[in-house]
Subunit: 218 residues, 2 copies
DNA sequence: GGAAGCCTATCGATCGGTCGATAGATTCGT
DNA sequence: ACGAATCTATCGACCGATCGATAGGCTTCC
């Protein structure tokens, strides 16, 4: 159960506005208005506007890394591991499209110091993918992946889900995640792959981010 | 041979700045300074800052549509058609990363009217992909693509190239384009695909955009 | 002499951020 | 127990800087 403090309300509003209009497209007055606060009061809860952005990104990346590690823990088969990472990534980017879009799109809005720390966090997430792909290559389950081309391509493919997914679309989200995993595994593997365990990924997403929407206040 | 007028210089500078810092992250004074002009003189060549952005996007999309149509004209085999579209897309997003990144990232910075026209142009480009995929599905060359999931996924995968490609990287660009095409075709097709004709795509990119870099001024 | 190209100066609005103040709750000292 | 001191949350007013855009006047070149 997450409490609904003023700080969290600001965080939530900022995620929504930054995702929709971009960091530079949102002023602090607009932020304050949506959070039902004066612009001065905002600074009681945050450092600067940029620090708020960095906090949003770190929060999202921390969850992604945690969820990713949990999804592949104690799974040896590289195909199942990569498949779970893909499914998890798709689920997260569909259900938390705003946070993840901010992470993907606004890295360049950060000053060098903050950007470095965010990029480092993102790298530690992508290393999960790189490890799974490398293991699969060595075991023969995957084709050669020269210079991480496949890793980058698949990550971009899955992140794109945040740009267009709508829960009112025709395809159930679990099916979408499975479809993406199969697309990814077919692109890499020489053999027809089995679908990963999407249910466990779904469960991890649930415990990592809480209930969908999480609008547990009026 | 492209002349180097002031208007084109502004266009070029705007592409670079919008790509690097985002539309809202660039002021007209910064734009003017990089174009070696006063901010007032800018308005001798453009309507508004937003109109300049829309012009950049339409220019890029016009070239993409033209190049895409040329690449698939008189090609019947759906596998070769989609492979060429992928290769072309990758080549364009690598060599003209700035324009294409602006198109991909700044659509939401446009007011509704201008956005509609840009989205319409983008749709007519994506229709080339949709047609190739639909033909391949009907001929049995591709698996079912429920609700355009594969089209969206592959497009995002290829567009991502603009975010990370560097000409100093270890892999020659033609190889990268071929690798992406094979990734895409393997993801879709039930059989091991042949690589598309990357050379012809390369030639089309050259005639559509002119020489790489096109920094034909001091 | 007139259009094209470019300038300085300026506009009102908004930017991110800080100021001192205040009302109310909590903690502390005696 | 009770006043003093402190803390929390909030505000309106304001800062210098920058925003996108305009007005009007010089050159330069045909």
């Amino acid at each position: 159960m997450v409490v609904n403090t003023t700080g969290e309300r600001i965080h939530r509003v900022a995620v929504e506005l930054f995702a929709r209009k971009g960091f530079h497209g949102v002023g602090i007055r607009e932020l304050a208005q949506h959070a039902q606060l004066s612009s001065a009061s905002l600074y009681h809860y945050m450092g600067t506007k940029e620090a708020l952005l960095a906090e949003i990104m770190h929060d999202c990346l921390r969850r992604l890394v945690s969820a990713g590690r949990e999804a592949v823990a104690s799974v040896d088969d590289p195909t199942e591991r990569l498949g779970r990472l893909v499914a998890l990534h798709v689920l997260a980017h569909a259900e938390r499209a705003q946070e993840t879009a901010v992470v993907d799109n606004e890295v360049n809005s950060l000053s060098p110091a903050l950007r470095r720390s965010v990029v480092a966090a993102r790298d530690s997430y992508e290393r999960l993918w790189a490890d799974a792909i490398a293991d699969g290559r060595h075991s023969g389950a995957f084709r050669a992946d020269p210079d991480g081309v496949a890793r980058r391509g698949l990550l971009e493919m899955c992140s794109g889900v945040a740009r267009w997914y709508s829960s009112t679309g025709p395809m159930p989200l679990d099916d979408l995640a499975r479809e993406y995993a199969l697309l990814a595994l077919r692109a890499l593997g020489p053999t027809e792959p089995a679908a990963p365990d999407v249910d466990v990924c779904r469960e991890i997403v649930l415990t990592t981010w809480g209930a969908v929407g999480s609008a547990d206040f009026a």
